[in-house]
Structures are given as structure tokens and as C-alpha cells.
Symmetry: C2
Subunit: 328 residues, 2 copies
DNA sequence: CTGAAAGCGCTTACAG
DNA sequence: CTGAAAGCGCTTACAG
């Protein structure tokens, strides 16, 4: 199009100020004037430029949401809730794939800064690194930031994190109490979150006086099937495996069945995240529910408070729980 | 923050014009001046306002991506590719949940218009309705629109669609040729895409002189398990089922196994979409690959051309293929 | 090589 | 109840 309020003003025989007041439902406009302007606005399919509006109002009415990869189901849930909730309040969400490297993530902080977002949300513990921290200090020191499952001790950064150490330790104890004595752990990529899960496993193993056995798989079904088979081949006494991620446990379970072993009779399995995969797998996967929903809700609520009050700062912790299905 | 180029100009003892030229790497600036300005820009963590810049340049450098629900794996793939690709070119993606109803989807067209996006992408056939069409005609008649898996015969709307009629018909023929004679179809929500799949089934059934048997399930694992069990109870002669969506087939397969039937011996199953679920399920699901990747790539390429040339208009068709695994 | 001025499309005191 | 003017933070002819 390209219509401006001046075009509408001319058409209606009024000034741009009046058109602006009608658009923004300001009081003190004669009814007949208002109706005439409204009609012309409607008939010409006029649409105000949010950019121009934002420039004078000093607000973009945009929220920046950073996720390392939006295809990751686990991370998109938080973005969904926020987008849904804030759209109704007139905010648009800039949902960006911030990439894998620390530097790439940090550069996205700059991008959000230049778009002058009203607030930023970081989804996933992988944002917890020095590059990102420095970028926030340099480029968005006064913009509210909500960190989902990670934290920075910065005055403008609030956070909601899952107590993953506890979650994994509880899973270990459950397996131990059911009589398992060779409980292995299948880790994935090195992220702050996965480090906490691993800590929980190591801590629990030590507390129960058991030897720890840790294997690592990349975050793909194929790699996990291979890593699981290798683990069992090298340690045939293994009678339980805790996986850092549900998806790895699901394809791991398939590898175990293909080896002719029974689940849970020969080997018990516990995944992490209570993802859709865990419910749909066959056998249905027991898993550590890291309370993604609660975490997302908390972030959405914190975001709302932070936008209302720039001084807002809070740190909440959510406790995981065990969901038992058919693999234990 | 709140620094403007005037603050930088004062600090550097130059005019705002010069600062702007340095920021935009314009030629014809004395080296020493450029370096001084650059240093001050860096030291003060200056970040240009993209909104102000966009206002004078008459471009937002934003792309609007509409998806009815971003949690839907199937739809987010396209958004991912586009975001990845255009971010490098300096475009930000406004990824929005456009909701289920036609009116809600149409209202998001208005939102994108007021943000003055350089182009819009509609992901999913559900956008193919009159409300959306009228909103495009009214509010973005000149903005390039790329429609993934749907189309409008509008000069500014290009499209890439999968030939789903063919895909489902081919699945039917395969089952028929393997000796199945009671091939049922499990449909899902009524969308243009699902209508095409159903058409393919009905057409193929008629061509093979077979009776059609169509059941419907809502788009949830629980509903599909129930619908599948009900279908088999009512029609025990059923020896094959084609599902409109992989996810429904996966939970359907579980329901069939729970009834004591064998897959594929008693009942063969074919899903649709070649989603991650199909590969991870047990037994692994045979499926109609609707070439989501190809569709997304095509849309991304079309988007690039459309941004470069506003006159661009193209309609591409992608042909699905059958992926055979363990359920046939 | 550099700066003053106008303008992008709005909103909001201020004046009447 | 309404309008003229200034200003939000930039960029870009134009002039020198």
C-alpha cells in the first residue's frame, strides 16, 4: 500500500493529529468526525506502521525469543506459550535460531538489541556461557531478560530452572531400590543442563556405594542405538540405563530389543524430559519429568512482570519427578 | 543504553551524517575519522535502531511466518529453514501462531501488514480459506507471499504444494498389489490437505473396484488408539489401514498390538508424512513421504526470489513417494 | 571528505 | 473539539 495518516487526513478533511487520535481511540473527538475518519480508515484498508509508532513511543512491542534450534520440541514449548500469551497484548515475537556456538548465541543478543525488543527470553541452558553474559551486559543491560533453565547473576536477568541433579538422583535411587546393581548413564552433548543431570547420577552412585558407568551419545537416534549396543557389549552385566534425553532412550530401547534382550526384565530404562516420544514408544518409556510445562509457564509469568516492572528480578526452581511406565 | 548517533557524533567531534556513513561502511570518509568513529562506536557498545533505519529505508527487513501452531513439528521445519537462511541476510523472522480459526489466521495477516514485513510465508494448507485470501487482498496486495502446501490465485502469492492425491492413491495401490482387500482409511481434521489425501484414497478404491471404509480421528494419540480399536471391532475383516498422519498411525499400531493382532501379518499400516515418529516407532512405520523437506526448500528459494523481484510468481508441485518399513 | 537540512510515518504537548 | 509544530533515530541528496 503506502497510505499514511496524511492521506487519510486529506481524504477526511481533517489533520493528521485527528486521524492519529481516532486510530488510538483518544477521547475528545466529535462523534461525527470520528465516524467519518473511521469509515475512511476502514474503506481504504489502512494499517498503521508499527515501526513509526514504535519510534515515537520508544517501544517496539516485540519480544525476542532465542532458541538454539526451533525444531527442538523441547525448546519450542516455551516459545509457544510466550508467543500465545503476548500476542493478545499486542506484542510480536521474534523467534530466532541462535545456533550452537557461544559466539553465535551472543551475536543474537546484539540483533535483539538493535531491534529494541521490550524483553528477551533465552530458552535452554546452553545460553549459560560467558559470551552471552558479556553480550547482555554490553548490549542489553537494561532490557529485562528471562532465562529458561539457566541463570546469570545480572540485575536484569530472571530465571526458572529445573533441579536436574535431584531428578536424576531420584531415578537412580528408584532403580537401586528395585534391585538393579549395574546402573549405567548415557549422557549427551555437554551443556550445563546435561552436566547437572550427570552430577545427579554420579552423586547418587557414590551415595549408594556403586561404581559409575558413563557412556556418551550424540543427540541423534542412530548414534544412541550404536552407543547403547556398544555399552551393553562392553558391560553385559548392565541391568539399567538412565538416559539424559528421552529420544536417546527410545532408540536405545529398540537397539536393546534387537539384541534379543528383554525390557525391563533384563535391562530397565529411564529417559529424561517426559517428551511425547516417551509416551508413544513401545514399550512406553519411564522418564524423569523435568516439568517443562511448569518452567515455561513460570517464564511466561516472569516475563509479564518484568515488562511491567523493569526492576523485577526473580529466580525460581522447579523440582522434577519420576514417571513410571513400561521400561522399569 | 539509549545512545543515538548524535551522542556518538558529539563524542567524536563529527556530524551525525558522518557517523551514519561509518556505520553503513559508505566510501569517502578520511581514514582517521573513520577509525575514531569506529572506536567510539565500539567502546560505547552502540547499536543502531533498526526501526528508525527501516523507517527511512522503507523496509523492515523482517519476514512474517504464519503457522497455526508452532509446536507442530511438521510445520516448524519450514519456519526453521527460512529463519536460518534469511537471518544471514539480515532479516529477522516474525514467527507467529496464527491459531485454528479462519478469522484468527486472517487477523494475523493484518498484524504482519502493520509490521510492514518484506514478505510473508503461510505454512500449512489450513490457510487456504476465504478469510485469509480477503485479508491478503486488502492488507498485503503488494507484499510477496509464499504459501507452503496451499495456494491462492493471487498475483503476489506463490506456492509449493505436495500432490497428496497421488501419494495416498499410490499407497492404496501398493497395499492392493500385496493382496490386501479390506483397506480402510483413518482421516483426521478437515483441512484442504487432508481432503486431498482422502480424495486419493477414494479415487484409488474406486479404481480398484473396492469398497471404501473411512473412519475419522481427532489429531491426538489417544483419540487415534480409540478410533482404530473401534474401526477394527466394527470391521474385523480390515487387513490394512492408511492413516492421514503418522502420529495417528503410531498410536493406532499400539492399539492393534494391544488387541493381540499382528503387524503386518494381520493388518498392514501406512502413515503419512515420514515424520520422526515413523522411524522411531516399534514396529517402524511404513509411510507416505510428502516431501516436507523439498517443500520447505522450495519455499525458501521462492521467498528469496520474491524478495528480489516483487513481480515473481510461481507454483511448484512436489510428488510424494512411498517409504516401506516394518508395517507393510 | 564533511555537514546542515529534509524527510521516513507516526504521536503528543501546546495553543486556540 | 481540532490543528500546527516538534520530535522519535536514522539516511541521503545537496552543497561546499
Amino acid at each position: 500500500m503506502g497510505l499514511t495518516i496524511y492521506d487519510i487526513a486529506r481524504e477526511a478533511g481533517v489533520s493528521a493529529s485527528t486521524v492519529s487520535r481516532v486510530i488510538n481511540s483518544r477521547p475528545g473527538i466529535r462523534k461525527s468526525t470520528r465516524e467519518r475518519v473511521e469509515r475512511i480508515l476502514r474503506e481504504s484498508n489502512f494499517s498503521v506502521s508499527e515501526a513509526a509508532r514504535g519510534l515515537v513511543n520508544q517501544t517496539s512491542r516485540m519480544i525476542g525469543i532465542l532458541v538454539s534450534d526451533i525444531r527442538n520440541q523441547h525448546h519450542i514449548e516455551g516459545a509457544y506459550m510466550i508467543e500465545q500469551h503476548f500476542m493478545q497484548k499486542g506484542f510480536c515475537s521474534l523467534i530466532l535460531n541462535a545456533g550452537e556456538s557461544d559466539e553465535s548465541k551472543a551475536s543474537y543478543i546484539r540483533i535483539l538489541a538493535s531491534r529494541r525488543v521490550n524483553a528477551a527470553v533465552l530458552v535452554g541452558s546452553a545460553f549459560q556461557n560467558d559470551s552471552v553474559r558479556r553480550a547482555i551486559e554490553a548490549y542489553m543491560p537494561d532490557t529485562p531478560v528471562i532465562f529458561q533453565n539457566g541463570e546469570f547473576s545480572l540485575p536484569n536477568v530472571s530465571s526458572a530452572v529445573a533441579d536436574e541433579v535431584h531428578g536424576t538422583a531420584e531415578a537412580f535411587s528408584y532403580l537401586f531400590d528395585s534391585g538393579r546393581r549395574h546402573i549405567a548413564y548415557m549422557n549427551s552433548n555437554d551443556t550445563p543442563s546435561n552436566r547437572k543431570k550427570l552430577d545427579g547420577y554420579l552423586k547418587a552412585a557414590a551415595e549408594h556405594g556403586m561404581e559409575a558407568l558413563v557412556a556418551v551419545s550424540e543427540d541423534s537416534p542412530e548414534r544412541s542405538a550404536e552407543a547403547t549396543a556398544a555399552l551393553i557389549a562392553a558391560h553385559p552385566e548392565t541391568d539399567a540405563i538412565i538416559y539424559a534425553i528421552d529420544l536417546l532412550a527410545v532408540s536405545g530401547s529398540r537397539a536393546i530389543l534387537d539384541m534379543g534382550l528383554r525390557i525391563p526384565d533384563d535391562i530397565a530404562l529411564i529417559g529424561t524430559d517426559n517428551s511425547p516420544f516417551s509416551m508413544l514408544s513401545n514399550p512406553r518409556l519411564s522418564t524423569i519429568d523435568t516439568k517443562l510445562r511448569e518452567l515455561s509457564t513460570a517464564c511466561s509469568e516472569m516475563l509479564e512482570k518484568a515488562i511491567a516492572d523493569p526492576q523485577y528480578n526473580e529466580h525460581v526452581v522447579v523440582t522434577p519427578s519420576l514417571v513410571l511406565r513400561e521400561t522399569t
